[in-house]
């Protein structure tokens, strides 16, 4: 029986990009359903009644919500090929910790740096740079966050890659200059087809960020 997989997603979403990367890494065919999260369609409300957000992964009619939970689900269901999480419980816990750090700490300043102005933006930039530094230190001289293999944490962070240029532009900093190891790591990740196909055009994202800035009153 063919697996029925669909993904409700929105083209600029860093979270949806993660799930797209994971599905591509596993070679899973799926139906992509462009879903504007500002317009709560009946399908979105039915599949994610609690948060009404994308991405929503639908497998055999059953929804899985929250991108990191989707990544783990994909890893467990399509376990035969290319594991995204290590099998050792301690290494797994470390991978989960860093993905959690990205969502708990990095996310907020990462949007405030382009989505706010004045003092709020200054504070967001300071915090964002601190978190980039932490992530650069954690990467160190490794090829990927998990070591030699592209995995969970790499996907969690590369989801944000399309937004890096917007962060740099509005935050007035350069990842290449300030975080060279991270910069090299992005280039390595960008050699992967799963990543290239999942990301959005950085310039389109900047245009979109401008539109959102106006909406949020930051422009």
């Amino acid at each position: 029986m063919a697996d029925e997989v669909s993904l409700l997603d929105y083209w600029p979403s860093m979270f949806g990009m993660r799930t797209k990367m994971a599905l591509a890494e596993k070679g899973v065919a799926y139906e992509y359903v462009e879903t504007d999260p500002w317009v709560k369609t009946p399908l979105l409300i039915e599949m994610n009644p609690i948060h009404k957000k994308i991405p929503v992964l639908i497998h055999k009619g059953k929804p899985i919500c929250e991108s990191l939970i989707q990544l783990e689900y994909i890893d467990e269901v399509w376990s035969g090929t290319y594991p995204m999480l290590p099998s050792d419980p301690y290494q797994k816990a470390q991978a989960r910790f860093w993905a959690d750090f990205i969502d708990k700490k990095f996310y907020d300043p990462s949007w405030k740096v382009w989505g706010t102005k004045g003092e709020d933006q200054v504070a967001a930039k300071k915090e964002l740079l601190e978190h980039f530094k932490t992530l650069e230190t954690e990467l160190g001289d490794k090829t990927y966050y998990g070591g030699e293999v592209f995995g969970f944490v790499d996907i969690a962070l590369m989801g944000y890659y399309s937004w890096f240029k917007a962060m740099e532009k509005f935050g007035e900093f350069s990842i290449e200059t300030e975080f060279p190891k991270l910069n090299e790591w992005t280039k390595r990740c960008l050699k992967r087809e799963s990543v290239v196909k999942a990301i959005a055009d950085s310039d389109k994202i900047i245009e979109y960020a401008y539109a959102l800035r106006k909406k949020f009153g930051a422009e």
Binding site: I69, E76, P89, A93, F97
Partner: protein, 219 residues
């Protein structure tokens, strides 16, 4: 070789309680080390340099941080007894979704209740009741959130029960009147030794809050 298991925690923390409950469910002997969060110890700073928060589980010298990650680690490392997460990937994803919901939605409003002033308390109470009602709907007529067996979501939420008396007193309402199934569920959980051992007395929590507010500089 005997396992060395240390838990850095703080007695009123509902997050610390999660780790304790999981260890007790698995009958793991551990060394509990009470932490003073206002005077952070060397071991806390060394084992959790990124967040400097409890709980930290230290297993044979290696630290694991973030309470839900700790619970998963415990379940994976000691798989024999009392499985905390379901084996089926979809059920696991659902359990993680609800634990994540609790993490995202409970802390905000409950903090407004115990640490807020005036209108904030009322706002916190309203939001908390909505969240409780959502959880009550999800629980339904099941014995536990996962069904017949005590597990991940129960562990994620039950620690907050030790603060319920405080919330009720501070915001003048009855949780039982609003969500009787939640209270019935909590009482079932408290019959488990792991939970009874890990939750502090509600009275102790209620009496502690003014002191906590002073130490946090909130008045």
């Amino acid at each position: 070789m005997a396992d060395e298991v240390i838990l850095l925690s703080y007695w009123p923390s509902m997050f610390g309680m999660r780790a304790m409950i999981a260890l007790e469910e698995k009958n793991i002997k551990f060394d509990y080390r009470e932490q003073d969060l206002f005077n952070k110890s060397q071991i806390l700073i060394e084992t959790n340099p990124v967040h400097k928060k409890i709980p930290v589980l230290i297993h044979n010298g290696k630290p694991i941080c973030e309470s839900l990650i700790v619970v998963e680690y415990i379940d994976e490392t000691w798989p024999g007894e009392n499985q905390l997460l379901p084996s089926d990937p979809y059920q696991r994803a659902q359990a993680k979704f609800w634990a994540d919901y609790i993490d995202k939605k409970v802390n905000g409003p409950t903090r407004l209740i115990w640490a807020g002033k005036g209108e904030e308390i009322e706002a916190g109470k309203k939001e908390f009741i909505e969240v409780l009602k959502t959880l009550e709907t999800e629980l339904g007529d099941k014995t536990y959130f996962g069904g017949e067996t005590f597990g991940f979501v129960d562990i994620a939420f039950i620690g907050f029960y030790s603060w319920f008396d405080a919330y009720e007193k501070l915001a003048s309402f009855s949780i039982e009147a609003e969500c009787p199934k939640v209270i019935a569920w909590a009482k079932r959980c408290l019959k488990r030794e792991s939970v009874a051992k890990s939750l502090p007395d509600s009275d102790k929590v209620t009496k502690y809050i003014p002191e906590l507010k002073k130490r946090l500089g909130i008045e």
